[in-house]
Amino acid sequence: MGKLSRVALGYVGAVVAAAAGLLAGGPFKGMSLQYVIVLGILVIVSESTATQLRRGRLTWSPSSAAMLASVVLVGPVGAALVGACTALGLRRGPSLLQRVFNTAMYALSAYLAGHAYLALGGKIGLPDADSFPGIIGPFVGAALVLVIANHGLLAGILWLTRDPKRASSGAGVGLGARLLLSDLGYAAFGLLIAALWSVVGPFAPLLVLIPLFVARWTVAQFAEQQRAYEATVGALCQAVETKDLYTRGHSDRVSRGSVMIAREIGMRGERVEAIRYAGMLHDVGKLGVPTRVLQKTGKLTEEEYAAIQLHPYRGLDIVREIGFLDEALAGIMHHHERIDGRGYPMGLAGDEIPEFARVLAVADAFDSMTSTRSYRGARPVEEAIAELRKWSGTQFDPAFVDAFVAAIKRDGWQRPEPSVLPAEDLAAIPAQDHDDPGAPLRVIDSL
């Protein structure tokens, strides 16, 4: 969490005070210690093995099942006690403040869930055959309250500690409906623990641990695979770019620019992911264009121009078999179309051009203009913005130009490092850039 603002500190303080207050208040009378201890251990175990979620700041653990079991078995105060066992999790990583906040958050959520359970008519104690199916309704209510309280309190602290520079990136704040749903799914284990207790006693949590651990393993595996995947795609894109030193990093920056636009216009998370990959891969087809043509200084013959116009097709050929990139494929294919219909390869106009392609086109041209080329130096950001505006409506979709400009004004744009001179045989130096709207490709009119 690093340094906290005063508001954020106040928020943490309020949550901690609320949790401490209700834990001190009790009542503890008649509470069966056996349940609290066994379920507390279950919380500690699941907390100790929490997995890192992909975006880095959050971890996930299946401990909500133990808290919900304690809601049924020992009621709200007991549940808060079990939730407070989070503090004893043997995990390195969270700072003291994070640990305190997490503990208070879980205690508070479990307490609220306990009261929701009672309010809906749930009975505290070991469920028996007569409790079913009547107990299911109150339990679902408790699970909903627990998960929503947990997500709500977390979202609060995330929002208060968000990076002010990246205020627009909503991804960090919302935890995502998927996570909420999966937490609700695992909550069902809570009822199973409670029900099994009357059959196999304290063995119940032990049996439930196995599927919970498998769930955790799966989540961890998924996150790891995803990281590996991103790293590999990035590395391979760089390999493609080694052919041309001046465009090194181009794919990466186009990808970042496209994501900025996508977030600015409020695209869904999954589509933002897809456009990220589309940005990275948008120029792979360039490899199919003979180096001779890319390097040529003078005007191009019609055949050579046709070869360049084909590169989106080639790119499509390469990435077509990658399963999940449906919309991204259309983006890669059409990223050189123009709003006025004079682009390539198909000459689509206006709304006929897929949304992804219109986004990519803006980011692509902008990065080309702000990078150094052999025939000119890098242009300043303001000049490139002016150029984008100039072509807005003819070459680019005005909505995306506006979104991009707004995002750049707020978050800034990281320009490429000045190119290092290439080792003689490693890379070719092109004399023109097909992405550069200021220096369009010159074609010999007729032969």
Binding site: A129, L181, L207, V214, T218, A228, I322, F324, A428
Partner: protein
């Protein structure tokens, strides 16, 4: 050589799918007997039978595709095992027979498979049959014991018995699946079994534990146990599906991007794909385990990625025809690219060392070095082995140097660990790559045999003899199947 003779007698109609056929027939016999028995004695506790049947059908509908072309239906299997292990529901003893368990499971599976068939996804009969047989195995052992008063009264005993049976069932499924894979993919049984157990362990543990949980929870919760249970199982399955999905996408992406070298004109079309397929087949033949096979596949797909860094494509892309120095340079550049990904360290290492000769001539001092021309005349004559034409540039420290036998360098300057030749995967790629450079996309068995013969001539130093023999078996098999 008996191995080869044996190979030649393996005609397609002899071996292909015979194991699967056996499995399906066995499952069919059990099924027919069960249906007949159930029809005679009548269905008991129809309500439970229907509820579990629905759960099994639902699980089959949501079956999973696992990494490595496998299929699994965790929810369905958990439901079926739980139905086999049911002792009492709401304090009422459950007395259905094992025959009924098999019947209900089979009907559930078939109903769940129908929508898949309807949209044109083929049924994996072998996989379904092995799942049914596992459930049957548990049912036939446990059902006669379920009514036993000791089991009913002591949950500890019941728990121990059920755990043992579930473990047994999962082991049986691993053995059956491994047998199927030996048949389909020519893997070695031991290797296939270990791979199967390792891969199935997490999912199998979850399925087994869930089956126990449902069986026990039903005592108190009644049929509500099924409904409550489906939620977490579903979530886990969704997570697993995403995991399997990204693994598949990963492989597709590497495959797709490896084609970049072909489109750029650096290598012959289809080269990377062919080399990777051949390398994986050789690896399987040599008993490589699945996680390493995946790395081998990645490395083989990307073995030429270093060529992208060259300004001019090598004519025809045949790396085997250029000097050792250039080969080594391409390997180094490729490894650097892969290294960037950080997660593929061992893949980078495989690619880096793909050109190293199998034996440095001086390593085994008792083996006399064959007379070798120092120029590239042999390479120019189409000889598959490029000979050392100098030291590779940018060589990493501590890496065995080709041509280290030259006396003008003190041996101490090039420390070499004992027996530290190139990794097996690098040796496989070296052989597969050389083979493909010589044969290309040609299907002519004569040409393939000649290429194998050429590689064999160079097993003293360049190629690993065991790898070349495995390659030879793979190639022979392939041409037999083609004829």
């Amino acid at each position: 050589m008996s191995e080869r003779r044996h190979e030649l007698h393996r005609f397609p109609w002899h071996v292909r799918d015979s194991g699967q056929l056996l499995l399906v027939v066995a499952a069919g016999v059990v099924l027919v007997a069960s249906v007949a028995q159930t029809a005679v004695s009548g269905l008991r506790d129809v309500r439970f039978a229907v509820a579990f049947g629905v759960l099994i059908a639902f699980g089959e509908l949501l079956r999973l595709n696992l990494p490595g072309d496998r299929e699994s239906a965790p929810i369905g299997t958990a439901g079926a095992l739980a139905y086999a292990l049911l002792i009492q529901v709401n304090k009422q003893l459950i007395v259905h027979s094992a025959w009924q368990v098999v019947t209900v499971t089979a009907i559930g599976m078939i109903i769940g498979a129908l929508p898949h068939l309807a949209v044109g996804r083929p049924a994996r009969v072998g996989s379904m049959a092995s799942r049914l047989l596992c459930v049957a195995c548990v049912a036939f052992i446990f059902r006669p014991l379920a009514g036993d008063s000791a089991v009913v009264r002591h949950w500890e005993l019941a728990l121990a018995l059920m755990t043992a049976l579930v473990v047994l069932a999962l082991l049986l499924e691993a053995v059956l699946t491994a047998l199927l894979r030996v048949d389909e993919q020519r893997a070695r049984f031991r290797v296939a079994l270990v791979d199967e157990m390792r891969l199935q362990l997490p999912l199998g543990a979850a399925v087994g534990a869930s089956a126990l949980l449902i069986a026990f929870a039903a005592e108190v919760m009644g049929l509500a146990a099924l409904a409550v249970f489906t939620a977490p199982l579903l979530v886990t399955q969704v997570a697993f599906r995403r995991y399997a999905g990204i693994r598949a996408t990963y492989l597709q992406t590497v495959r797709a991007l490896a084609k970049v070298t072909e489109i750029g004109g650096y290598v012959e079309p289809g080269h990377s794909e062919r080399v990777s397929r051949l390398a994986v087949a050789i690896g399987r033949e040599l008993g490589i385990h699945e996680p390493d096979l995946l790395e081998l596949e990645y490395a083989a797909l990307m073995h030429d990625i270093g060529q992208l860094s060259l300004a001019d494509p090598i004519p025809g892309g045949a790396t085997v025809l250029v000097s050792r120095r250039d080969q080594q340079r391409i390997a180094e550049l490729g490894a650097e690219v892969i290294q960037q990904a950080q997660v593929l360290g061992s893949v980078a290492e495989i690619v880096r060392r793909q050109n190293e000769p199998y034996r440095d001539v001086d390593t085994p001092p008792d083996v006399p070095a064959p007379a070798r021309p120092e120029d590239d005349a042999a390479a120019a004559a189409g000889h598959p082995a490029g000979h050392p034409a100098g030291h590779p540039v940018g060589q990493a420290a501590g890496q065995p140097a080709p041509g280290a036998h030259r006396s003008d360098r003190p041996p101490a300057a090039r420390p070499r660990r004992a027996g530290a030749g190139p990794p097996l995967s690098s040796r496989i790629i070296k052989a597969a790559n050389a083979f493909d450079d010589l044969v290309g996309s040609s299907l002519d068995p004569g040409r393939a045999a000649a290429a194998v013969q050429q590689l064999r001539l160079d097993t003293a130093t360049e190629y690993d003899p065991a790898t070349v023999e495995a390659l030879s078996r793979v190639v022979t098999r392939r041409s037999v199947i083609q004829m």
